[in-house]
C-alpha cells in the first residue's frame, strides 16, 4: 500500500479502505466473500487447511473473479468451530471440516443453496439458524475490544482502516492535547482489564506527572490463567487495535517506546503481531513523526517463556529487562519507576484494544455502557461445564445468569449449576445464590471473587469444590516465583494440607491451619499472585463449608469426585453376574463366577477409575 505519512494520507486511506470493506461485506464489488475463522481454537481444528481447500476449490470451480477467501479472527463460539461466514448473505456455517468445503462450494457458492447440515442448531428449539445475529449466543453481546474481530483479516491494515482503525489515534493527534486524551480515558471510566481494575486514565496520569527523559508503555499479553484466551484472541483477531491503543497511550503520557510482552505459547498471536508491527512501520504509521506529527513511537516485542508470575507487572518488567521474572516491591510503582527505572505504564491487551474505541466514539458512548463504577464491556473466556464454550464480550452489568444461561446456553446434560470460578487462580467461586450478581469489578469482589482477566469456568454438581481448590493451589504452587516466603512455602503447605483433605487425612485442625496460612498469604505476600493465591481456598471455604466438613469429618466427598474418598460397590441383588465389569476392570479387582455368583469389588485393589460403573447395563454398581 502507499505510505501513510501524513494526516491527509491517512484520511484518504481510511476513506478508500472503508469503501472497500463495505463493498466486500455488502457484495457491492460484485463478489461474495468467504471468511474462515483463524482463531487458535479453529486453527487447531484445521481451519487453515479448510481455508486452503476453499481457495483451491474456488479456483477449480472457476469462481476466482466472483469469490474471495480469507481468514479472520475468532467468532467466539469456539466449541462449535471451525466457522466460516459467507458475505453478503452473512450465512454462518459451523463445525466445518475440510471435507465439507466442496459441498459448500457446490451448494452455496455455485448453487446458491444454504447447506442446512452445517448451520447452527438451537439446542432448545432445535431450529437451524443461518445468520450469526440470530443465534442466542451472540444476541446479548457487544463487541468493543473485539471490534472487527471475525470481520476483518487480521493481517491486512487496509481492512483495519476500513472498520474505523486509527480514527482514534487520528483524533488524539489532531484534536486533543495529551492531557485531553488522558481526561477522555479517565472520563470513560475504563478500568484495567487484566485483573486489578485500576482506572486506566489515572494510571496514565501518574506516569504523565513524572518528569523523565524516557517513558514506556508496556502491553501485558502474558495471559496465563488456566482456560483464559481473551488476550490471545484479541491479539490474533485484531492486533492493529492493540497497537493503536498503545500509540494513543504513548501520546497521552509521553512514552515514545512501547513493549509488547506476549507469551511464547501464543505463536499465532506473536506472528500476527510481528507482521502488524512490520506493516505499520512500512506504512509509516509507526516510527519517527507518526503521520507527520511531532509524535514518534516505536514498538518492540518480547516473548514470555511461560511463567504465570510474569503476568504480574513488576515481574513482567524484570523479564523484559532480561532478569528473572520476580516481582519487585512496590512502591515505587512502575508509573514512577518502571522499565529500566523509567516511568512505565503496564496495560493489559484488552485495555489497550478498548482505548481506540473510546477515542473514536467518544468517552460518553463508552461510559453509557456498564454500571456506575464499571464501564464499557468485558471479554470473557467461558469454559468448563457449559454448552457454549467460547469467547464472549458483554456490557458490564450483565448478570452471571445471563452470561451462563442466555449466552453460555446453560449446563450440559441437564445437570445443576454449582459454581462459577472467575478471575482464574487468583479469583474465587460464586454460587447459585450469586447468579444475579452483575458483572462489575466491585460487585464481584464483594461476593468474594474478582473480575480477573476474564476467565469464567462453570462447575456443575459433579465438581467437588475442595478438589477445585486443590487444582488451583497446585497450579499456584508450581507458578510461585519462589521469592517470598509466604508464597513459596505457604502455597506448598496449603497444597499439602488440601491433599490431605481430598485424600481423607485432613482434620478440622487442618482447616484451621489452612486459614492461618491463607490469611498471612493474603495480607503478607509480596505480589498480587501471592496475595490472591489463597482466594480459591478462602472462597470455596466460605461458600461450601459443608463440603470441607464432609471431607474432614465424614471422610466423604459429596460430589464423588475425590478418588480416595469414593468407593464403588456392586449391589448383589441387581447384579446379573454377566462378568462385564470384571472384564472391564483394568486392575482385575472384581471377582465373581459368571452366571452363578454376584460380582464383588476388592476395595484394596480398586483404583476408582469408574470403568465398571460406566459399563454396567443393570445399574448394579454404585459410587459413594
Amino acid at each position: 500500500m502507499e505510505p501513510i505519512n501524513s494526516i491527509p494520507c491517512l484520511e484518504k486511506a481510511m476513506c478508500k479502505c472503508s469503501e472497500e470493506l463495505n463493498a466486500k461485506v455488502k457484495g457491492l464489488n460484485g463478489k461474495r466473500a468467504i471468511v474462515v475463522c483463524g482463531g487458535t481454537g479453529c486453527l487447531a481444528n484445521h481451519s487453515e487447511d479448510l481455508e486452503a481447500e476453499l481457495k483451491r476449490l474456488v479456483k477449480e470451480y472457476g469462481l476466482e473473479d466472483k469469490v474471495t477467501v480469507n481468514h479472520v479472527g475468532c467468532f467466539g463460539l469456539c466449541s462449535q468451530g471451525p466457522f466460516i461466514k459467507i458475505f453478503p448473505e452473512e450465512t454462518l456455517y459451523r463445525a466445518v471440516q475440510v471435507k465439507d468445503a466442496e459441498t459448500i462450494v457446490k451448494e452455496d457458492l455455485v448453487g446458491h443453496r444454504i447447506v442446512e447440515d452445517l448451520l447452527y442448531v438451537d439446542p432448545i428449539t432445535k431450529m437451524r439458524i443461518a445468520k450469526q445475529e440470530d443465534i442466542p449466543f451472540y444476541k446479548k453481546q457487544v463487541r468493543v475490544a473485539l471490534h472487527g474481530c471475525s470481520l476483518i483479516n487480521p493481517s491486512l491494515v487496509e481492512e483495519y482502516l476500513g472498520c474505523g482503525g486509527f480514527k482514534g489515534l487520528k483524533r488524539a493527534l489532531t484534536e486533543l492535547t495529551p492531557q485531553q486524551v488522558i481526561d477522555e480515558v479517565t472520563n470513560s471510566g475504563l478500568r484495567g482489564r487484566g485483573g486489578g481494575g485500576f482506572l486506566t486514565g489515572r494510571k496514565w496520569q501518574f506516569a504523565a506527572n513524572v518528569e523523565a527523559d524516557q517513558k514506556y508503555i508496556v502491553c501485558n499479553g502474558d495471559e496465563g490463567d488456566p482456560g483464559a484466551f481473551m488476550d490471545c484472541s484479541i491479539l490474533e483477531g485484531t492486533p492493529f487495535s492493540v497497537i493503536e491503543g498503545m500509540m494513543i497511550a504513548g501520546y497521552a503520557f509521553g512514552a515514545s517506546e512501547g513493549y509488547f510482552y506476549v507469551r511464547a505459547e501464543y505463536p499465532t498471536a506473536v506472528k500476527r503481531l510481528t507482521e502488524a508491527i512490520k506493516d505499520l512501520e512500512e506504512a509509516g504509521i509507526l516510527g519517527d513523526h507518526v503521520l507527520g506529527t511531532d509524535f514518534s513511537f516505536r514498538v518492540h516485542l518480547r516473548l514470555g517463556a511461560g511463567a504465570f508470575v510474569c503476568g504480574e507487572e513488576t515481574a513482567l518488567l524484570n523479564s523484559i529487562e532480561g532478569k528473572r521474572g520476580m516481582p519487585r516491591p512496590r512502591p515505587p510503582f512502575p508509573a514512577v519507576k518502571g522499565l529500566w527505572g523509567k516511568p512505565t505504564c503496564v496495560n493489559n491487551v484488552e485495555t489497550l484494544a478498548t482505548v481506540p474505541y473510546i477515542l473514536r466514539e467518544g468517552w460518553e458512548k463508552f461510559a453509557s455502557m456498564g454500571t456506575e463504577k464499571s464501564k464499557g464491556t468485558k471479554v470473557f473466556a467461558l469454559g468448563g461445564k457449559i454448552n457454549n464454550v467460547g469467547l464472549v464480550e458483554v456490557p458490564m452489568g450483565t448478570t452471571l445468569r445471563t452470561l451462563i444461561y442466555d449466552i453460555g446456553g446453560g449446563i450440559p446434560g441437564g445437570k445443576a449449576f454449582k459454581a462459577i470460578q472467575t478471575g482464574g487462580p487468583s479469583g474465587g467461586c460464586l454460587t447459585a445464590a450469586d447468579l444475579d450478581t452483575p458483572i462489575d469489578y466491585d460487585a464481584l469482589v464483594a461476593k468474594g471473587s474478582m473480575m480477573g482477566s476474564g476467565g469464567a469456568i462453570v462447575m456443575d454438581e459433579d465438581n467437588c469444590m475442595v478438589n477445585v481448590a486443590h487444582f488451583y493451589m497446585n497450579f499456584i504452587c508450581d507458578e510461585s516465583c519462589g521469592k517470598c516466603t509466604v508464597c513459596r512455602i505457604g502455597t506448598k503447605r496449603l497444597y499439602e494440607m488440601l491433599t490431605d483433605v481430598v485424600e481423607g487425612r485432613g482434620t478440622e485442625q487442618t482447616l484451621e491451619d489452612m486459614k492461618a496460612i491463607a490469611s498471612v498469604l493474603k495480607d503478607g505476600a509480596l505480589c498480587a499472585l501471592g496475595q490472591t493465591a489463597a482466594n480459591p481456598i478462602l472462597s470455596t471455604m466460605a461458600n461450601f463449608p459443608e463440603e470441607y466438613l464432609a471431607h474432614v469429618k465424614d471422610k466423604k466427598c459429596p460430589a464423588h469426585a475425590c478418588k480416595k474418598l469414593v468407593s464403588f460397590t456392586i449391589d448383589p441383588e441387581k447384579c446379573k453376574k454377566c462378568s462385564l465389569c470384571a472384564r472391564n476392570c483394568p486392575v482385575s479387582a472384581i471377582h465373581g463366577v459368571p452366571g452363578k455368583e454376584p460380582y464383588v469389588i476388592d476395595q484394596s485393589k480398586c483404583i476408582k477409575c469408574g470403568a465398571c460403573l460406566s459399563g454396567c447395563r443393570f445399574d448394579a454398581i454404585h459410587k459413594e
Binding site: 504452587c477 510461585s480 516465583c481
Partner: protein, 600 residues
C-alpha cells in the same frame, strides 16, 4: 533532612522522610525482626516477610514489608498508623518464620552458624512454634567441592542477601535464584559447584548469609591431624586478624587490638612457633617494590598490579586473563613466609621441611584455595602453607581449648629468624596499605632516603577507588588503589585497553581490604544491638583504625629496615628478585577464561 510525622502504636514521632518504615522505627527505638533486610535496605528484596508490620488507616489495614516500604507513604498526616505489635502483625511475622522453619534442616546444634544464626534469632523473637506446618522439604544441594566456601541449601531461606552481595561487592553475580515455586534455590548457574563456577571464593556471601547455608570450608581437622602426627606445627597470622579477633570474644568492634592475646592464645594452643605474617608482608614489599622498579626501568609492563589478594587473583584469571602480565609475580605474604619457613627456617634449625606444617590464620576464605595452588609449592613440591584457618576458625579453636581469651596476658611473636616486622606490614590488612608500604620502600630505593612524613595518606580511606600522584624526588609516580571487584573493573578496563595512566595499582578482592575479608567475625546488626544502628557503615573503619594505630606506634615503619629481612637477604636470598628469591617467593598465573567462554 526532610522529616515526616509518623504514628507508631498511637504515638507521634518525627522521622527522616527518606527512610523505610523499619529504619524509621529503628530511629525511634524499635527493632523490627528481619532477615532479608541488609545494608540499609539497599540490598533488600523484601522476600522473607519477617519484617511485616500493619499499616492501618480509615480505608482499612494491610501488612507491608517494613524494610522496603517508604515511611513517606504512611505519614500521620494521611491518616496512617503503623502497628508493629498488633496481633495481626505479630501473627504474620511468626507465621513467616514458622514457614521458613518448616523447610529448614534445623540441625542447629551442629550447625557452623550456631551462635550466629539470624533465623534462630528471629524464631526466638517471634515466638515461632515448632513444627506448626510440617511438610515436604525442598530438594537440597550440599556443595563442599570448592576450597573455601561450602553451600548447603537445606539451610537456605532464599533471602537473596548473598545474591546481592556478590553483585554489589564483586560485580560478578555468581549466585542467583533458580527453578521456581517451592523448589526455588540459590546457587551458581545450573546448580553447579562453586568449584566449577567462576567464583572467586572471596566469602563476602558467607559474611552476609543469615543462616548456615553458606560457610567457610573448615580446616581445623587438618591442623589437629598435624599435631597428632607430631609435626612442627608453625602458625602465622595475617594483620587483619588482630583487628577483629577480639570481636569473637564479646568485645565491641574496633575496641581491642588483639595482637598480644592472640599470640598468647596461639602459644597455649601448642604451636611450635608463632609468627606474624607481617614478616612475609615486609618480604613482599622488598620483592614487589624491586619488581616495580624493574618494570619502571622497562623490564616488563606497567602498571604493576599487586598480587596479595587471592580473591583478586581468581578474578583476574577468570575475567581479565589479558592483564595477567601486569600482575606482580610476588606470592602473597603468607605464602612467602611459608616458603621461607620451609627453606631458610628449616635449614637453619636443621628440620626436614616435610616435618613442618605451616598454618596460616587469615581473614580470608580465598586463601584456602591459594594455599592449594601447585604454583605455591616452592620447596620440592611441598605446599608453602599446609592449612589456612579463618579468623572465625581460630576463635573456635581457642574456645574449644577452654582458653579464656579476654583474661590472657599480652605476649610477643616468637623472635626466631622471622620475628621482626614493620608497621608497613601491619597496614596490609586495609585497602591502600600495600600501596603505602610499597611506596615507603620504593621512595627509599629511588632516593636513598626515607620519606619524611612516613604516611602516604593519599591512599588511605575506605573509598572503593583512590588515586594519587606522588612526586618522588622528581619522579612522578601515579598510583591507584581499588577494593571490591565491581569498582576495580574500571581500573582493569583501562589496563586492558592500554590506557591506564598508573605505574602501580593495588587491588584487594574485598571492599575495604582484608579487614572486611570473608573469614572475619560476622557483623550482624540484629545479633549485636550494642554496636548501634550504623554498625554496617562503621565496622570497617573501626577495624582499619586498629591497624593504623599499631603502625603509628611502631618504631620500625618501613619494610626495608626490618633487620630480620635484611638478615634473610644477607644470609640466604642474596638480593630481592635474586634467582633464589624468584624460585621461592614468586609465582605464576593461568588463564581460566577458556573454561567460561561466555563470561562478560
Amino acid at each position: 533532612m526532610n522529616t515526616i510525622q509518623v504514628k507508631i502504636e498511637g504515638r507521634l514521632y518525627d522521622v527522616d522522610a527518606s527512610l523505610s518504615i523499619l529504619e524509621a522505627a529503628r530511629s525511634v527505638g524499635y527493632s523490627i525482626p528481619s532477615l532479608c533486610y541488609w545494608n540499609g535496605g539497599h540490598n533488600s528484596l523484601a522476600s522473607c516477610r519477617v519484617c511485616l508490620v500493619e499499616v492501618a488507616s480509615a480505608q482499612g489495614s494491610r501488612l507491608v514489608a517494613s524494610c522496603v516500604y517508604p515511611v513517606a507513604w504512611v505519614g500521620a498526616d494521611k491518616g496512617f498508623e503503623i502497628k508493629i505489635s498488633s496481633p495481626k502483625a505479630i501473627e504474620a511475622r511468626r507465621t513467616s518464620v514458622e514457614l521458613l522453619l518448616s523447610n529448614h534442616s534445623k540441625d542447629c546444634q551442629t550447625c557452623v552458624k550456631n551462635g550466629n544464626c539470624e533465623l534462630l534469632n528471629v524464631a526466638k523473637i517471634t515466638g515461632a512454634k515448632d513444627n506448626r506446618f510440617p511438610g515436604e522439604k525442598s530438594k537440597a544441594t550440599y556443595d563442599d567441592c570448592a576450597p573455601g566456601i561450602v553451600r548447603d541449601t537445606s539451610k537456605c531461606i532464599l533471602c537473596g542477601r548473598c545474591v546481592e552481595r556478590c553483585k554489589e561487592a564483586q560485580g560478578i553475580g555468581i549466585l542467583g535464584f533458580e527453578a521456581r515455586g517451592f523448589e526455588t534455590f540459590v546457587g551458581p548457574a545450573a546448580n553447579r559447584s562453586f568449584a566449577t563456577s567462576p567464583c572467586i571464593q572471596c566469602g563476602q556471601c558467607v559474611n552476609v548469609c543469615p543462616t548456615g547455608a553458606l560457610s567457610e570450608k573448615r580446616e581445623i581437622d587438618l591442623v589437629d591431624e598435624a599435631f597428632r602426627q607430631g609435626k612442627y606445627v608453625i602458625v602465622q597470622t595475617a594483620p587483619a586478624v588482630r583487628a577483629a579477633l577480639a570481636e569473637e570474644f564479646g568485645n565491641k568492634i574496633g575496641t581491642v587490638n588483639a595482637t598480644g592475646r592472640m599470640v598468647a592464645a596461639l602459644h597455649r594452643l601448642g604451636f611450635y612457633r608463632v609468627f606474624d605474617t607481617n614478616f612475609g608482608a615486609d618480604l613482599t614489599i622488598m620483592e614487589e617494590a624491586t619488581e616495580l622498579l624493574h618494570r619502571m626501568k622497562g623490564e616488563g609492563v606497567l602498571p604493576q598490579i599487586t598480587s596479595c589478594s587471592p580473591g583478586w587473583i581468581n578474578f583476574a584469571e577468570y575475567f581479565y586473563p589479558e592483564i595477567l602480565p601486569h600482575v606482580s609475580t610476588c606470592k602473597s605474604p603468607h605464602e612467602m613466609e611459608g616458603a621461607i619457613i620451609k627453606s631458610y627456617f628449616a635449614k637453619t634449625h636443621n628440620i626436614d621441611p616435610k616435618d613442618i606444617f605451616v598454618v596460616s590464620v587469615m581473614p580470608c576464605t580465598a586463601k584456602k584455595g591459594e594455599a592449594k595452588r601447585p604454583q605455591n609449592a616452592a620447596n620440592g613440591g611441598l605446599p608453602d602453607v599446609d592449612a589456612v584457618l579463618t579468623t572465625r576458625e581460630l576463635a573456635l579453636m581457642i574456645k574449644r581449648s577452654g582458653i579464656l581469651f579476654n583474661e590472657l596476658p599480652e605476649e610477643e611473636f616468637d623472635q626466631d629468624l622471622l620475628g621482626e616486622y614493620s608497621g608497613a606490614g601491619v597496614i596490609f590488612g586495609v585497602t591502600g596499605g600495600v600501596m603505602e608500604a610499597a611506596l615507603r620502600t620504593a621512595y627509599h630505593a629511588l632516593t636513598g632516603k626515607e620519606y619524611g612524613p612516613i604516611d602516604f595518606k593519599e591512599v588511605r580511606g575506605l573509598e572503593s577507588i583512590k588515586e594519587a600522584s606522588l612526586d618522588i624526588d622528581g619522579t612522578i609516580v601515579k598510583v591507584a588503589v581499588a577494593s571490591g571487584m565491581k569498582d576495580a573493573k574500571k581500573l582493569l578496563d583501562e589496563v586492558k585497553a592500554g590506557t591506564s595512566p598508573y605505574a602501580f595499582i593495588e587491588i584487594m578482592g574485598c571492599p575495604g581490604g582484608c579487614i572486611n575479608g570473608g573469614g572475619q567475625p560476622f557483623v550482624k546488626p540484629t545479633l549485636q544491638p550494642e554496636e548501634g544502628a550504623n554498625v554496617l557503615k562503621e565496622y570497617r573503619q573501626k577495624r582499619a583504625n586498629i591497624l593504623y594505630t599499631i603502625d603509628e606506634k611502631m618504631t620500625l615503619r618501613q619494610s626495608h629496615n626490618n633487620k630480620d629481612i635484611i638478615a634473610l637477604y644477607e644470609n640466604f636470598l642474596g638480593s630481592p628478585c635474586s634467582e633464589l628469591a624468584e624460585e621461592l617467593l614468586h609465582t605464576s598465573y593461568v588463564s581460566n577464561r577458556e573454561k567460561f567462554p561466555n563470561l562478560k
